[in-house]
C-alpha cells in the first residue's frame, strides 16, 4: 500500500510556524534526499532505523519531541510536513511581491499570519549577510553561494532565498524616488526594523563597500547597518534633494568632490598645529589617554582627512571601512583608548574646527565629520 496522493486544504490556510522555519531554513521535505544540514544526517539515520524513510524536515520535527507531545506517528508527520511545504511553495511566488499576498484570493490567511509569513520570508541570517554585504548582487556572487553555504552551515537553499531577497529588493527600489526605507516598506510590507536592514544591504550593495577583509571581521551587520543609516541620511543625494532619483542609494558626488577641500586641515601646517592645540587645551585632564592622543594627533587627523579627500575615487569609497579601521580604530585600539575617551576626542576634534579662522568649509566639515563621528564610535569595539 503506497500513498499516491495525500493532501489537506483548509478554507483558512493553516500555517505552522515551526514547519515554516524548517522550510525557510532550506530543509528538504522530500524523503530520501541527501541532507546538507548540520545535524539532519544523524537523525535521518535514527529515523530510518525505527521506521520508514524520513525527510530532513520531518527528522528535525521528530527531534523536537512533537511525536511524544501529540501521540502522532512519523507517517502523520511526514504527510503534514508535505502539506505545509506544498502550501509554502505555492505561497512563495506571492511572497516575492508581498502586496500580491494581501490581494490574492487563493489563500485565505488572517492579516497577522500574512505579516508573519512576509517578515519571516525576508528575515536573513547574520552569518549570511556578513558574507555578501557590499558585494555586487550578481550571478557571479550567486555562484559563490555554495562556498558560503559550506562556510556558514546555512543550507544552500536558504542562502539562495536570502540572496534572491536581497537582489529582488535591490531591483525594485533601485530606480525609485523617495526614501529608501519607505520604498522598501511600501513594496515589501516589512516591519520598520527589517526595512532599515534592507536599506543598509541595498546601500552597501550599491556602493560596494568592502566588508569582507580580515580586519573587518570583528564588525557585525548591525555595525554596518548603523553606519549605512547615518550615511544615507547625510551623504546621499537625498540628503540635499528629496526629489532626486536614486536619492538614497548613491553618495552625493558633488559632496565627495568638495571633500578634497578639507585637505587643507592637514596640508597647512599652521592650521594643523592650531587644531591640535585647540583640542589638547580643551581635553587636558579629561582624557585618560591624553599623552597618547597628543602624540598621535597629527597621525589621526591626517588619517581622517585623507580618507575624506580620497573619496572621489570609487575604489577608495569601497575601502572606506578598511581605511577607517586602519587609520583610526586600530591606532586607538593599540593605545587602549576607552570608548568614552574616543567620544570626547571626536567631539572636540570636530568642534574645534569651528574656531579655526582660516578654514572656510565649516558646513562641509560638519556634514563629513558628523556622520563619521557616529560611525567611528560604532566601529570602536573589540
Amino acid at each position: 500500500m503506497t500513498s499516491e496522493l495525500d493532501i489537506f486544504v483548509g478554507n483558512t490556510t493553516l500555517i505552522d510556524e515551526d514547519v515554516y522555519r524548517l522550510w525557510l531554513d532550506g530543509y528538504s521535505g522530500l524523503w530520501g534526499t541527501v541532507c546538507g544540514c548540520r545535524f539532519g544526517g544523524a537523525v535521518v539515520l535514527d529515523g530510518r532505523a525505527g521506521r520508514a524513510r524520513m525527510s530532513d524536515a520531518v527528522a528535525l520535527r521528530v527531534r523536537s519531541g512533537i511525536l511524544e507531545q501529540t501521540g502522532a506517528t512519523a507517517a502523520v508527520l511526514q504527510s503534514d510536513t508535505m502539506d505545509h511545504y506544498r502550501t509554502f511553495q505555492m505561497l512563495e511566488r506571492l511572497l516575492h511581491a508581498p502586496p500580491k499576498l494581501l490581494h490574492q484570493l487563493i489563500f485565505q490567511i488572517p492579516p497577522s499570519r500574512q505579516a508573519l509569513l512576509i517578515e519571516r520570508y525576508y528575515a536573513f541570517d547574520e552569518a549570511f549577510v556578513r558574507e555578501v554585504l557590499g558585494k555586487k548582487l550578481s550571478k557571479g556572487t550567486k555562484k559563490d553561494l555554495d562556498d558560503i553555504s559550506t562556510k556558514t552551515g546555512i543550507t544552500l537553499k536558504s542562502c539562495r532565498r536570502q540572496f534572491d531577497n536581497f537582489k529582488r529588493v535591490f531591483k525594485v527600489v533601485e530606480e525609485m524616488r523617495g526614501s529608501l526605507v519607505d520604498n522598501i516598506q511600501q513594496h515589501f510590507l516589512l516591519s520598520d526594523r527589517l526595512a532599515r536592514d534592507y536599506a543598509a544591504i541595498v546601500f552597501f550593495a550599491n556602493n560596494r563597500f568592502e566588508t569582507g577583509k580580515k580586519k573587518l571581521q570583528y564588525l557585525s551587520f548591525g555595525d554596518f547597518a548603523f553606519c549605512a543609516e547615518l550615511m544615507i541620511q547625510n551623504w546621499t543625494l537625498g540628503a540635499v534633494d528629496p526629489q532626486a532619483d536614486d536619492m538614497d542609494m548613491d553618495l552625493d558626488k558633488e559632496f565627495l568632490q568638495d571633500l578634497k577641500e578639507l585637505k587643507v586641515l592637514v596640508a597647512d601646517k599652521d592650521l594643523l598645529d592650531l587644531h591640535k592645540s585647540l583640542v589638547c587645551t580643551a581635553l587636558r585632564g579629561k582624557l585618560g589617554v591624553f599623552s597618547e592622543m597628543e602624540a598621535n594627533f597629527k597621525n589621526l587627523s591626517r588619517g581622517l582627512v585623507n580618507v575624506a579627500a580620497k573619496l572621489t575615487h570609487n575604489k577608495d569609497v569601497r575601502d572606506l571601512f578598511v581605511d577607517l579601521v586602519e587609520k583610526f580604530v586600530e591606532p586607538c585600539r593599540s593605545d587602549h583608548w576607552p570608548l568614552n575617551d574616543v567620544r570626547l576626542f571626536l567631539n572636540q576634534y570636530s568642534a574645534s574646527v569651528h574656531s579655526l579662522d582660516g578654514f572656510r568649509h565649516q558646513a562641509l566639515w560638519d556634514r563629513y565629520m558628523g556622520t563619521l563621528r557616529g560611525c567611528l564610535l560604532r566601529l570602536c569595539h573589540d
Binding site: T2, F8, N11, T73, V76, Q89
Partner: protein, 991 residues
Amino acid sequence: MPGKLKVKIVAGRHLPVMDRASDLTDAFVEVKFGNTTFKTDVYLKSLNPQWNSEWFKFEVDDEDLQDEPLQITVLDHDTYSANDAIGKVYIDIDPLLYSEAATVISGWFPIYDTIHGIRGEINVVVKVDLFNDLNRFRQSSCGVKFFCTTSIPKCYRAVIIHGFVEELVVNEDPEYQWIDRIRTPRASNEARQRLISLMSGELQRKIGLKVLEMRGNAVVGYLQCFDLEGESGLVVRAIGTACTLDKLSSPAAFLPACNSPSKEMKESPLVHPPSHGCRSTHNSPIHTATGSRLTQNFSVSVPTLIYTGMGSGSAGKEGGPFKALLRQQTQSALEQREFPFFTLTAFPPGFLVHVGGVVSARSVKLLDRIHNPDEPETRDAWWAEIRQEIKSHAKALGCHAVVGYSESTSICEEVCILSASGTAAVLNPRFLQDGTVEGCLEQRLEENLPAGCGFCHIPYDELNMPFPAHLTYCYNCRKQKVPDVLFTTIDLPMDAAVIGKGCLIQARLCRLKKKAQAEANATAISNLLPFMEYEVHTQLMNKLKLKGMNALFGLRIQISVGENMLMGLASATGVYLAALPTPGGIQIAGKTPNDGSYEQHISHMQKKINDTIAKNKELYEINPPEISEEIIGSPIPEPRQRSRLLRSQSESSDEVTELDLSHGKKDAFVLEIDDTDAMEDVHSLLTDVPPPSGFYSCNTEIMPGINNWTSEIQMFTSVRVIRLSSLNLTNQALNKNFNDLCENLLKSLYFKLRSMIPCCLCHVNFTVSLPEDELIQVTVTAVAITFDKNQALQTTKTHAEKSLQRASTDNEELLQFPLELCSDALPSHPFPPAKAVTVEKASPVGEGNFRNRSSPPCANSTVGVVKMTPLSFIPGAKITKYLGIINMFFIRETTSLREEGGVSGFLHAFIAEVFAMVRAHVAALGGNAVVSYIMKQCVFMENPNKNQAQCLINVSGDAVVFVRESELEVVSTQQPAANCQPSCTGGEVTT
C-alpha cells in the same frame, strides 16, 4: 422581453504575462450571454488593466436567465495571430432573479483557465432588471428560492412542507463527442463546464416549475448531482423538498400570517402563502416596487394541480381516537403524493412524530447510450423504481413518509449502482397541508408527544413486526414501546434526550470481484451487494455496542464499484438515547472449546472488548441513571405525567402490553469466532482508535453534549489516494488497507487541527471511489469547531435548564398565539448558537466568560473573509440573509504534472482554487459565508506516464450574510431583563 441583464467590466489585476518580449499583456474582455457577445476595448501593455467599460445590456427571456450562465472571457490581443485566451469566469445569475436575495453581483472574480488554473482577477458588476410577465404558460420559474440546507433555513418559517421534487436532464458528454478528437483539451473542458452549467440551470428551472405547481415558493435540501456515464452520456439530476416559506423579518412574524397583509407584501407576490384562508392573494397579484428593482413585479397564475387542495375543511376531525386520526390525516396528506419523501434532516418542532428506521434500496443497471436527450425516460424509470421500493419499505415499517432522503450513484465502465436511502417516519400532518389543523388539535398533539423520546417510539404494529427486534417500554416516558437500537439518516432531533456525547462510527468493507463484462458483471455485483449490506450493518452494530451506545444518526452507506472490487463505507454518529435501553455487551464464543490456549485467547479478547466498552463509556460520558428492573416492568408514571396517563392508555389499547423484558434487556450480542475471518473482524473492531483527548467527531450537524461553541471554525477537504499492491490481493488485506487508510486519514486530521483543541469535527463526510484498478480514493470534507472546555462541564446542567425553559416556552407560546400555525417558539435551527448565548446570559459568570472568549476572534475578522462550513449555521453568529445557491462545476487538467508538484501538488492547488472561486462568488453577492457547503464530486484521473492529470470538482452551498452574536449584543443588552424570561429567549432566537 422579460428581463434585462446588465454587465460592466471594471478592471483586472495580477494578469499573467502574455507577451514575453515586453513582459506585459494587452488584455480585453468578451462578455457573452446566450448568443450575444460584447467586447471591451483592448487595454494595452498592462497587467492591471482598467477597462471601466460601458454597461453591456442583454435583453433576454427569463427562461434563459435561469438556464444560461454569464460567460466572461479575458483575452490577450494579438495583432498578427489569434488572440490568446487568458481565462474565463462563469457567473450564475440565478441569485439575482428572486427578491430577498442579492440585488447586485459585484466584485473580484478569479480568472480561471482549465489548463493553467487561476490567472489573475477581474472586477465585474452584474445587475438584472426583471419585467412583469403575465404569461400563464411561461416556462421559467424565477422567484423560487433554492437552499442546499437540509433544514428550514434560519430566518424563515415553514408554512407548509409540500414534499418531494425531483428532475433529471441528460445530454451527450462533450468529452465523448467525435469533435473531441480534433479540439484542444481546453476547448473540450470548457464545452463540458458550459454544458453542465447550462444543464444545472435548466434543471433548477424545471424543479422550480414543479414547486410552483405545488404552490410552494422554495426548495429546501436541494441536492444536485452529476453522473458521468462516459460514452452513454451525462446525467444531471436533482432532488429536494418543496416548501412554502415565510420570512421572519421582525418580531411581527409571530403574528398569524393572514392578519398582517404588510407581511405578504414582502413576499414575492407569485407566492401564495396559503396560511389559513388567505387564498385570495393569487387572484390579485400584489405589485410592489420597493427600491429600484423590478424583480418583485412579476406574477404567475397557478394552474390547478394534482397536488393542491387536500384535506381542506377538516375542522370536524376533532373526535375519535387521536392516534388513528393522526394516522388518517397523515395518510391522506401523504398518499396523494407519489413519493412522500423529504430531503430534510432536521425539522421544525413537532414535525417528526415517530421514526421507524433506515430504509434503503439499491439497483444495478447497465448503461446504454441515451438516444434522445429530450426524453430521459430510462433514467427516470430507474429512479422511479427505486423510489417505489423505498416507499414500500417505509410502509412495511408502518410509516407513511421517508425523511433524510438521499440518492446517489456509483459508476464503473458500463455498470451503474443506483442507491437511495432515508429514514421511515410518521409525520405530523399539520405542516403538510393548507392549514387545516386547528389550534386545539394542535395543542393536544403537542401534549401527546413526550419531550425527547416521542420519535423513538415504534410506529409499526408490534404484533406484526417487519423484522425481529427486541422491544421495551420507553425508558423516558415508560408508556410506549421502543426498539433496542435505532438507525436513522437524519440529524439528532433538537429535543432528543441524550446521555453523554456522541462519536463518529464507521463501517468499512472491501470485497473482491472478478473482472467481467456487461451482464455478467452486473450480476456479480448484484450478488455481492446483499452480503456487503449485511456485513456493513453487522460492523456498525458491533462498533455501536463497543461504544456503549444505542442509536445512529446521519447514517450514510456508500457502496462504490470498481473494476475488480466493491467498497462499502458507512458513516454515522453514535449516541446514547435516554429513551432506549442500555445496550448489552459483546460476548465472544469460540467454536473449539477443548483447546486450552485457544480458550485463553478468547477470554483475553473478551476482556479487551469489555475494557474497551468501559473505556468508551467513560470517554463519552455515558452514565445512564440506574433503573431497577421493577420500575421498567410496571410503568408507574411520575406525578407530572399522570395527567397524560389516560390518553396514552386508550391510545395503546390496541397494543399488546406484555413483553418479555428480561429478553430485551440484558442479553449480550454474541460474536461467534469460528474461523480466522471472524477473528479478523473482532480484531478490526479493536483497531479503531478513539480521537486524541480534546477532539470529538460526528457526521451530523449537532454534537450531543457540546453546546458552547466558540466562533473559530475551519472547513477543510482532505483527499488521499492509495495504490494497492496488485499481488496477493485478498479480501482481508484489502479490508486492512482500507481501514488503515481511513484511520490514518483521521489521525492526520487530528494532528493538523491540534491547535484548535478542544474542538469537534462536525459533519465529517467521507466519500470513497475507485478511480482505477488498484487505486482507492477517499475524500473527506468536514468542519472543525472549537468549543469552550470550561463551560462544557456545565453541559448537563444547562441542558436541563434548557429543556425546562423550553417546556415553559411551549406553553406560553401556545397560550399567547393559539392561531399560530407553526408555533415556532423553538427555533427551527438544529443547533442555534444563539441559544447557548442566551442561556449563558442567565448566569453572570457564564456571560463574562463567553465574552472574553469570543471577542478576540471577532476582532480579527476583517472585511473580505468568507467562511465556509458544511453545517447550516455559523457558531456564535446569526444568519440574517440567504443570498442564493452556489453550485459550481470546475474541470482542471494538466499536461505538466511533474512540474506542478505531482498529483498532490496538482490537486492541492486545484482545491485551493475552487475554495477561492466559491469565496469570490459569495463575496460578490455581498455575503460573508457559505453554509451547507458540500463537495459533491471530486473525480480525479491521472496518467503519470504521459505526465497528465485531470480533475472534476462539483461544489454547492448557500451563500449567506451573517452577523456575529457579539455585534448583536448591543441589541440584546437593551432588554436584559426580558432576556431572563424564557418566552423572550425563544422569541429572540427565532427573530
